[in-house]
């Protein structure tokens, strides 16, 4: 907190100087308006509107090919939108990168195998006007012990922490992570996120793309679900979970009559596996009452759906699933588009 106070003082001292793009503390970290990217006939990004406030940690969650990486490339100025605009702290991406306000950890590549870890950091640091110290970022990315190792000899997780160290050099306002833990083992993932989490505690804005639900759930303040280049839902992890308000009822019922089960209250799907029936329903109480009184069902289990179910339903290719799941809850929870 004292740091925030210092910074406020620092800001007023330097008020006479040119500030970047007239940026104020109200300027969002990221603002996307009607963002669109077409590759020929393929609509990789198909009209995304999103505002990320400063200090927020936002997950871009979606299956492969949903348009996450294409969106990130435009945020970083690596590609030009077909239509729409990107503003990073009120600036064009190119200028934001030039001022070291945005940095990124990309999915793969981008490192020279025959440099050492420390050399890579020193080299990259020399490209910024006032970078953080090499030793400091190596420490923060937990790389101090392998500073002299050749990059080509580092594991995938170590290389990813190196990319993270490079991203920390300009001390960016906005840190973008593009599927940062893809291909890492559990231990590396945990260690990577531990480093990120320590860092976001300082108030940095983070936007990360992932297709791991648990990552989005564990680390994001807000989840943006993307599918086919569009945002299909957004909200806090809790709000998204609440969207999938249905329950799953599982019971043992030999010789089940499928069509009769489908007629039970609120049932959206019936699955019969041998003697087991699995029902998806919006009214589990009524289903249970009828199952236990009118049929020979036993060993009954009721489970609520989790974020994974919401994810699958909202990003699934069959629009009916998404509609069935989303329709009853859209008015009460996180915004649906």
């Amino acid at each position: 907190m004292s740091r925030a106070a210092d910074d406020a003082g620092h800001g007023s001292e330097t008020a006479g100087q040119t500030t970047i793009g007239g940026m104020t503390t109200d300027t969002p970290a990221l603002h996307l308006a009607g963002l669109t990217k077409h590759f020929g006939a393929v609509k990789a990004v198909d009209g995304i509107d999103l505002t990320v406030g400063r200090g927020e940690v936002v997950a871009f969650l979606g299956p492969n090919g949903a348009g996450k990486t294409s969106t990130i490339d435009m945020v970083l100025g690596l590609s030009t939108p077909t239509a729409g605009t990107v503003e990073v702290l009120g600036l064009r991406p190119y200028d934001a990168v030039g001022h070291g306000l945005v940095a990124a950890v990309m999915q793969s590549g981008g490192l020279l195998k025959d440099l050492t870890v420390a050399e890579t950091v020193q080299l990259t640091a020399s490209l910024f006007r006032s970078p953080r110290g090499t030793a400091e970022v190596l420490g923060r990315a937990n790389l101090t012990d392998i500073a002299d190792r050749r990059v080509g000899l580092c594991s995938g997780g170590e290389q990813q922490r190196l990319r993270f160290a490079l991203a920390l050099l300009p001390d960016p306002e906005l840190l973008v992570l593009d599927e940062p833990t893809t291909g890492m083992d559990v231990e590396s993932r945990r260690s990577f996120w531990a480093a990120i989490r320590q860092d976001t505690g300082r108030g940095r804005t983070v936007v990360f793309a992932t297709h791991y639900l648990d990552e989005a759930d564990a680390y994001a303040d807000r989840i943006v679900l993307v599918r086919h280049g569009r945002i299909v839902a957004e909200g806090t992890p809790a709000q998204l979970k609440a969207m999938s308000s249905g329950r799953t009822v599982r019971a043992t019922l030999p010789g089940a009559d499928q069509s009769r089960l489908a007629g039970l209250p609120g049932v959206t799907s019936v699955e019969v596996r041998g003697d087991t029936v699995i029902l998806q329903t919006r009214d589990s109480d009524a289903v249970l009452r009828r199952l236990l009184t009118e049929t020979g069902a036993h060993d009954v289990e009721v489970t609520s759906r989790n974020l994974e179910d919401a994810f699958v339903a909202l990003t699934s290719d069959t629009p009916d699933d998404a509609a069935a799941l989303a329709a009853p809850t859209a008015s009460t929870t996180g915004s649906l588009r």
Binding site: R3, V97, H99, F128, A167
Partner: protein
């Protein structure tokens, strides 16, 4: 939408002055890149072993019998060595683009053109290594040149290597990484023959002799040897050299722009 913005401390807004703008050339980058090239065993074989070995092979026989020819071969081999060095650095851009390194650099304030500029500097600095080694070998072998001739050959072959830095960059931006060296190796050998670097031009087939004077290696060879031969430093050769350098430079700029605006 989210309450997180209010519960987290705000990251400081930093004035532009302390963040700085675009960077054009980083001496640290040049130094580390140079060190990296010198650490590469394959590069060292091309840069150190081959020019010296060729000099000994082609010129060794003249050492006592024909001092003029000995110095001539030495000058040719400084050109050859500098050519290999500068071209290979330029061509390394191909691998660095395909590995995503240049993309990573686009996330820094280094201007894309600054990357190319840095490569030119590294190439030309690395070109000093074979020039020095070949000339040292010549001196140890007893080449008899005046001080002015030593300096003249060194400076001429070094300055002329700029055209090959441009050539390497052009190739690096033109050819995919997986086969850039397979392609450039034979091309450089052919260019060396055209330049009379491996054998006097008049020993080559007539058709090659006819094409040779248009080749960049020919002009470079003539100019680099001119301190010894006291001929060849002509406006025609200079114009040819500048022309090729510009052609490769403009070609690189074109490919570079195409590369930078892709996607």
């Amino acid at each position: 939408m989210s309450t997180a913005t209010t519960t987290r401390p705000q990251h400081p807004v930093t004035p532009a002055g302390s963040r700085g703008g675009p960077v054009l050339l980083s001496p640290t980058y040049v130094a580390i890149d140079l060190r990296r090239q010198l650490r590469n065993r394959r590069t060292l074989i091309f840069l150190v072993v081959m020019p010296v070995a060729f000099f000994l092979a082609f010129g060794g026989g003249y050492r006592t019998s024909d001092p003029g020819a000995y110095a001539y071969v030495m000058a040719s081999m400084t050109v050859y060595g500098a050519m290999i060095a500068t071209t290979s650095v330029g061509a390394s851009t191909s691998m660095e683009r395909s590995s995503g390194w240049t993309r990573q650099l686009r996330l820094t304030p280094l201007r894309p053109v600054g990357y190319v500029l840095g490569k030119v500097v590294v190439a030309v600095l690395l070109g000093v290594v074979p020039i020095a080694l070949v000339m040292l070998t010549g001196a140890v072998g007893g080449a008899e040149l005046s001080t002015g001739e030593w300096i003249g050959v060194a400076i001429a072959s070094w300055a002329c290597s700029l055209v090959f830095a441009a050539f390497g960059l052009f190739m690096g931006y033109l050819i995919p990484a997986e086969n850039v060296m397979q392609f450039i190796g034979p091309l450089l050998a052919m260019l060396s023959f055209f330049g009379g670097l491996f054998a006097p031009l008049d020993t080559l087939p007539k058709a090659m002799q006819d094409i040779a004077p248009a080749m960049p290696t020919y002009a470079v060879g003539m100019i680099a040897r001119s301190p010894i031969t006291h001929s060849g430093f002509s406006a025609t050769h200079l114009a040819l050299l500048v022309g090729w350098t510009l052609a490769f430079g403009i070609g690189t700029a074109f490919l570079f722009r195409r590369d930078a605006t892709r996607g």
